[in-house]
Point group: C2
């Protein structure tokens, strides 16, 4: 069984996509993260929903969480304001902290996919043909496939 046979479609955005639209995609599909590609459909990173949640929280509260309890401001207004006009690329953490997406080839075996996923402790890997992403395999998808006959 090859990676391409178990890969699934998965919402992706581009580095230059609108940040608010990306947040709405995460919310609508209830995803833990979304794949970020460049203009050539090459997978570049994962944008975790928890990273977008950071933009709900004003900087002075990130510095001193005890202040969060006394804040009563409208959250929805703030998050929309914080995301409006930004790109997905601007939501991603800088370099070292950036969540990298592991990549497998379409003809890699299930064991190769599992080995990479386990080593990277990643909840998903991108499947590429050449350099372009053709789908995604999540850890739960891999379990679904391998446990199907047990």
């Amino acid at each position: 069984m090859q990676a391409s046979q178990i890969a699934e479609d998965y919402p992706s955005v581009r580095m230059d996509s609108d940040a608010l639209a990306a947040a709405k995609l995460l919310a609508e599909h209830r995803l833990p993260g979304i794949v970020v590609t460049d203009g050539d459909q090459v997978p570049r990173a994962v944008l975790p929903a928890s990273q977008v949640v950071r933009f709900l929280v004003p900087g002075y509260i990130q510095d001193d969480p005890s202040l969060a309890g006394v804040l009563s401001e409208s959250v929805a207004d703030r998050v929309a304001d914080a995301l409006r006009g930004k790109t997905v690329g601007q939501l991603l953490p800088d370099s070292a902290a950036k969540p990298v997406i592991p990549v497998v080839r379409a003809d890699d075996t299930v064991i190769e996919v599992a080995a990479l996923m386990a080593r990277c402790r990643s909840p998903l890997v991108a499947v590429v043909e050449g350099k372009r992403m053709v789908g995604v395999i999540t850890a739960s998808r891999l379990l679904q496939v391998t446990l199907a006959n047990t």
Copy 2:
């Protein structure tokens, strides 16, 4: 808006639950992880699906991933065998590497939940009343709630 108002049910298992049953729950619900509680419903950890995927991969391949491509053994048999008779607690990594689940109180505000989630970079937090878990808030749920009116 308080944590208890946006918390949702989320599958959980106990430390002494059957590992194979937990893997099937992850696969069936297509979850990136599952909450692990002790016998008193106190949240103790998250079992990521990627951690269960480790058990698909024989140790010698984890040590040398280049061997994965030449392996043609049945994966399904191996994973079922590897998980059978184990408990969830035995799947979790040891101490330091164990994924801790952040905990909020039922009356915490959305901003407090967001601040904790952002700080821990966690895709979900457990909501407790006293010490018992009453639900879970995922990062995407938090985005869904805060973006609902934008």
